[in-house]
Amino acid sequence: MVDLSVDLGFLKLKNPVIAASGTFGYGLEFKPFYDLDLLGGFVVKGLYFKPREGNRPPRLVETPGGLINSIGLQGIGVEAFCREILPELAGLKTAVIVNVCGEEEDEYARVAEYLGRHQGIAALELNISCPNVREGGRCPAQSPEATYRTVKKVKRVTSLPLITKLSPNVTDITAVALAAEEAGTEAISLINTLLAMAVDLKTRKPKLGNVMGGLSGPAIKPIAVRMVFQVARSVKVPVIGMGGIFSAEDALEFMMAGAAAVQVGTANFVDPDACLKIIGGLTTWAEAHGLKKIREVTGSLMA
C-alpha cells in the first residue's frame, strides 16, 4: 500500500491532489460525481466580500491545448458563502480551502477576517493573481511590495493558514515568492493563468467579451513546471504546483520540480472525476517504481 499523504506543516493532506479554485465551483457541483472525501482537498471559487457579477460574455475560448477564460470572479460573496455553502461542506473529511479575493488590499483582510470566524475551513488561498478583474490584467502578485503588504494585512486579522497564489505574468517570480514568504505566508501556490487573447478574423473583434483573459490547460504546463522549480528552490515554505495537470504523470513532474502538493484545474471541466483518476494514477506509478511514500517524489529532480 502506497502512502499518498503529504504534510504541508500547517496542514496534512491524505493525498497531494487538490482541486483548483475557479474550476471546482463551491465543491457541491462535484458531489454527484464522487465522494469529495477522496480528495486531498479542494479550493472553492474566489470570494469577494460582496456578490460579484463577473465579466460580459463570451467568457471562454479554446486555443490549441488550452482554454482562455475571462469569467471575472462572478460569485455569491463571502456572507452568502458562509450562510449557504459552508454548512453543506461541514463534515467533509477533506481539506476545504477558501480562495480569498479583494478589489483592494483591505478587502482581502475583510474577507479573511470574516472567514476566520467560521468553522470548517482548513486554509485560505490568497488570490492576488487573477488577471480578469482589473484593467490590463494587473494584480497585486505582479509586485513584490503589493504582495508583501497584502499578505501582511491578512496575516494580521486571521490565524488561518495562508496559501498565496502567484501570477506567472511577472518578470521574476522568485522575487514575488520571497516577498510572500517574508510577509508570513504558510505556503505558495502557482501558477494562476497566463494573460492571453484571441481574435475572431471574421468580425476582427477579440473573441472574449472582456478582450483579454487567462490561459490554462496543457498548453501552459511547461511554463508552470519551470516556475514551480524556480520558486521551490528559492523559498522554504511548501509549494503547491498547478498549470495544465491532466494526468498523474503531469502531477509527478510538478512534484519532482519541487511541489509538495498539486492543484488540478481545467481538467475538472473535461472529466468531472479527473482528480480521482490522477490520485489513482499516483498509486499505480508509485507501485510500479517501488515507492512507498509519494512525498518522497517532491524535489527529487536530478539537476
Partner: protein
C-alpha cells in the same frame, strides 16, 4: 447526471453537414427530459480540449439521439465517429422545457431554426403524449438545411417549413412564417430554439401577441454542469438582471427572462 464512458454509437445518418446519431446509453436515456443536453468528449487527446454541448434530439427506452451540424473542429471530429464506437457522454444536463399541464388539447407552436430543430422533436413527442397539439415550424437557409423534414412529417406531426431562398415551403424567414400563421391560429404557447437573431425576433412577436414562450439558448460551455461560470447569459429574474449559467439555470428560459442586448456571439 451520469458519465457514460461507453455509450455505444449504434446508428449514424447524415445529410451533408447534418448528422443524426443514435446511442445506446440506458442510464442517461432513463433520466433525459426534452430540452436537456449532453457534454460529449469528441477527442481522446487535448485537441480540442473541451467537451461539446449537444442537445438531446430524442430519448426512448435505452437509446438517445442527437442531431447536430458540423460547425467547427469539435463537431467535425464527432461527425467522423462510426457505428460500433464507444463515446464518452456526460448527461443529461441542464433544465429542459417545462411542459405546462394546462396546454392539453391546445395548439402549441414549436419553432426551430436550422440545427435548432434538434430539441423540438423530443419536446413535440412529449407534448403530443400529454394531449397537446404541437405544430412544428422548421426554418432553414435552403431546402438542404431541412434534413429532418420528412422524418418529422412521417411521425405524424404537422410540419410547416420555410427557406430563406424559397427552395421549399414558405419563402422567407421562419419568423415571418410564424407571424403569418398567427393571423390564422391562436396557439396557447410557443417553444423555440435557433440562432439568436431568430429568437430575438420571435420574442418581439410573442410579446406583441401576448403569447407565452420558452426559448432554448446556446452558449460556449466549459464544463456543462455549473462549475466554470463560462456560459452565462444575462437573465432578468426577481426584478434583477444578472448573469445566470446557461448550463445549469438553462438552457431553456422563459421568454420574459431573457435580456437580448447582452447576447452571446457564440
Amino acid at each position: 447526471m451520469v458519465i457514460d464512458r461507453q455509450a455505444r454509437l449504434v446508428e449514424v445518418e447524415s445529410w451533408g453537414d447534418y448528422f443524426l446519431f443514435t446511442f445506446y446509453s440506458p442510464e442517461i436515456a432513463r433520466q433525459a427530459q426534452p430540452g436537456q443536453f449532453l457534454m460529449i468528449k469528441v477527442s481522446e487527446n487535448t485537441q480540442p480540449l473541451l467537451r461539446r454541448p449537444i442537445s438531446l434530439h430524442n430519448a426512448e427506452e435505452n437509446q438517445l439521439q442527437i442531431f447536430f451540424q458540423v460547425a467547427g473542429t469539435g463537431t467535425r471530429l464527432l461527425s467522423m465517429k462510426k457505428p460500433g464506437e464507444s463515446i464518452d457522454l456526460l448527461g443529461p444536463l441542464g433544465k429542459g422545457f417545462s411542459l405546462q399541464p394546462e396546454l392539453s388539447g391546445r395548439e402549441i407552436f414549436c419553432v426551430g431554426g436550422g440545427r435548432g430543430i434538434a430539441p423540438l422533436y423530443y419536446l413535440a413527442r412529449k407534448l403530443r403524449s400529454s394531449g397537446a397539439r404541437p405544430v412544428i415550424f422548421y426554418g432553414g437557409r435552403s431546402r438542404t438545411d431541412l434534413p429532418l423534414k420528412n422524418r418529422l412529417q412521417t411521425t405524424g406531426f404537422e410540419v410547416l417549413v420555410s427557406t430563406d431562398d424559397g427552395s421549399d415551403g414558405f419563402p422567407g424567414l421562419v419568423t415571418s412564417l410564424v407571424e403569418a400563421e398567427l393571423k390564422k391560429r391562436q396557439p396557447a404557447y410557443l417553444y423555440a430554439c435557433g440562432p439568436d437573431p431568430m429568437m430575438e425576433k420571435l420574442a418581439e412577436i410573442c410579446r406583441r401577441k401576448n403569447l407565452e414562450a420558452q426559448f432554448s439558448l446556446e452558449s460556449i460551455m466549459g464544463c456543462g454542469f455549473g462549475a466554470c461560470w463560462g456560459c452565462v447569459r444575462k437573465i432578468r429574474r426577481n426584478g434583477q438582471e444578472k448573469y445566470l449559467k446557461v448550463c445549469q439555470d438553462g438552457p431553456v428560459f422563459p421568454l420574459e427572462e431573457i435580456v437580448w442586448q447582452e447576447s452571446n456571439d457564440g
